[in-house]
């Protein structure tokens, strides 16, 4: 299987450089410690300055969209976990909202609140991975240990509520997998009280650190006009001063009832995006506190036996329940024909799910609109004429997850 660059319009090797030499083409990846996954960059260098970048992707292409077409509607939730693997519940949420829109059902308030709780916990854990790995790539080794310590706490909560640390498949069309246990609520309560202190620790390590500031201030500039034109989303566009956050502009799952701020920065550089992500973690803790304080009682699943199985006790007494159970576990439910697009705000930006149904028990087409796929196209604009050593900081600030890019 050739992965040559034949036919690609790159490599200006041999071209005269501004400093008297020639341009040198350097291959960055796909096996590289600092590319946040299997990303390959073909970089043309003039001395140490970057003259052009060509990202080559596809090294993690998993055929998730094709796999979802071969699975039933309720089974396809499992593969939605795995494309943006740092925020599985948020991916589940986009898919679940899309399917529920096509089915015309709305989940009960307790399920909505639990969905918000899981989304915000995931946002925190995703930003912790970003902060830890970006730190260690720029040489700050201790921040990795601190961030992953907190992440272990969040993953322990995931495990308490769903049984899985990472790929929870917790949010499903029709509601959520299971109700929150009292131990989960206790862990969440403790987490919301302790996390702000930990975020203070990270800020103490990095925010006024002269090395961190020297490596991120002024690096990776993305002007607001460029951010808009290139379709950037998430901290990439908020880092250029545009307050676009889907939780505020196109709210879903009850987000309009929570009080939180949208983090923006006018700095347009890596440091600004770092401050945004720190603030987003703090706002996420605020939302978690509000959600926990006013968690409504009630069922966690929509009461539709054609979509979700009946409770096991009913199978002993009701024939209808047995038939529903049988149909759901052999064929699965059918979604009325139509197509819909739902977008949610993940740690990276706009993560959306475009679902096309042909009326059968399997999806016709599931397309995942990936924030990282679009944000990666902004890499060239951000990195041009920077030094090669800044490349690592710029890839880090884009916070791309290659599973999401390649699907």
């Amino acid at each position: 299987m050739a992965t040559s660059t034949e036919g690609m319009s790159i490599t200006r090797t041999g071209e005269a450089g501004a400093f008297g030499g020639e341009l040198l083409t350097v291959n960055f990846g796909p096996h590289h410690p600092s590319t946040h996954g299997v990303l390959r960059l073909i970089v043309d260098l003039d001395g140490e300055q970057i003259r052009s970048i060509k990202p080559v992707i596809g090294y993690l292409h998993t055929g998730i969209e094709k796999q979802a077409e071969a699975l039933r509607w309720q089974q396809a939730v499992v593969v939605t976990d795995r494309h943006d693997y740092l925020s599985p519940p948020i991916n589940n949420l986009a898919y679940a909202l899309a399917v529920e829109k096509l089915m015309g059902v709305e989940v009960p308030p307790r399920a909505q609140a639990l969905r918000v709780i899981m989304s915000e916990l995931t946002r925190i854990s995703s930003h912790l991975v970003w902060l830890g790995t970006s730190g260690i790539e720029l040489g700050a080794m201790s921040i990795l240990m601190y961030c992953f310590r907190e992440r272990d706490t969040v993953l322990a909560m995931n495990e308490e509520i769903s049984g899985f640390r990472m790929h929870t498949s917790y949010i499903r069309p029709g509601g959520v997998m299971a109700d929150a246990t009292p131990r989960f609520l206790e862990m969440l309560d403790r987490f919301t009280r302790e996390m702000p202190l930990h975020i203070d620790e990270y800020e103490e390590l990095l925010t006024m650190n002269p090395i961190w500031r020297a490596r991120t201030i002024g690096i990776g500039r993305l002007s607001p006009e460029d951010a808009r034109v290139l379709g950037a989303s998430g901290p990439m566009i908020r880092g250029s001063g545009i307050p676009w956050d889907l939780r505020k502009t196109r709210p879903y799952s009850g987000y309009e009832s929570y009080d939180f701020e949208v983090a923006t920065s006018d700095a347009c550089d890596c440091y600004g995006r770092y401050l945004i992500r720190i603030k987003e973690m703090r706002e996420a803790v605020k939302i978690l506190r509000q959600a926990l304080d006013r968690l409504p009682d009630g069922p966690v699943n929509v009461d539709d036996r054609k979509m979700l199985p009946p409770p096991r006790e009913e199978l002993e007494t009701s024939m209808e329940a047995v038939i529903h159970h049988f149909k759901l576990f052999t064929e699965g439910y059918s979604v009325p024909p139509g197509d819909v697009y739902v977008a949610v705000e993940s740690g990276r930006g706009e993560n959306g799910c475009y679902v096309v149904s042909d009326g059968t028990h399997k999806p016709r087409r599931v397309k995942f609109r990936s924030a990282s796929f679009v944000n990666l196209q902004a890499l060239e604009r951000m990195a041009l004429n920077h030094m090669i050593a800044d490349m690592v900081a710029i890839i880090g600030t884009a916070d791309t997850v290659l599973g999401d890019v390649d699907r």
């Binding site: 299987m1 050739a2 992965t3 040559s4 034949e6 036919g7 690609m8 319009s9 992707i57 596809g58 292409h61 055929g63 969209e65 094709k66 796999q67 077409e69 071969a70 829109k101 096509l102 015309g104 808009r228 034109v229 290139l230 379709g231 676009w244 502009t249 196109r250 024909p337 139509g338 197509d339 819909v340 697009y341 977008a343 706009e350 959306g352 475009y354 096309v356 042909d358 009326g359 016709r364 087409r365 397309k367 609109r369 796929f373 679009v374 990666l376 196209q377 390649d406 699907r407």
Partner: protein, 161 residues
């Protein structure tokens, strides 16, 4: 809104507004929408309607362009149907830069050729891959698993043409 003569059909699906235009006039339609403020192309993708009995489709491949107006927060889906071997449609990468990679991906996975695209090569599959995997007559592939239901269909194709 787009000129009346460009619109073939319009409707609402689960709360999403959509319009269908002729494949030849996709550039005009998107240019008009861009002038009106729909300046963000959220995504562009293709759907293969081979053997889909839920309704009669004008052509096999449907291209869907989701546009968004960030000021008014409206969204609109523009659909067009193309056929052919391979199907051709004009590229819109100059109007909407995010379309550059989206069109390469649609070419890679579906085989739709975008005219005037600067670099229409495979982006996700290896460069010498044969076939377009997301088409409905391309098998899901993988390993045969004994006693799994419908797995013979996976090995041939989800839809037999």
């Amino acid at each position: 809104m787009i000129r009346q003569d460009l619109i073939v059909e319009r409707g609402v699906s689960a709360g999403d507004e959509w319009v269908t235009v002729e494949s030849g006039s996709i550039r005009d339609a998107l240019a008009e929408l861009k002038n009106e403020g729909f300046r963000l192309l959220v995504f562009l993708t293709c759907v293969d309607h081979l053997v889909d009995g839920s309704r009669t489709w004008p052509a096999r491949f449907e291209l869907a362009y989701q546009l968004r107006n960030m000021e008014t927060r409206e969204e609109l889906r523009v659909r067009t149907f193309v056929d052919g071997d391979p199907p051709h449609v004009d590229s819109v990468h100059d109007m909407f830069p995010p379309a550059n990679w989206d069109e390469r991906e649609t070419y890679d996975l579906f085989g739709v050729v975008f005219n005037d695209h600067p670099d229409l090569t495979r982006i996700l599959m290896p460069d010498d891959w044969v076939g377009h995997p997301l088409r409905r007559d391309y098998p899901v592939g993988g390993e045969v698993v004994e006693f799994s239901e419908e797995h013979e269909r996976w090995q041939t194709a989800p839809d037999r043409a």
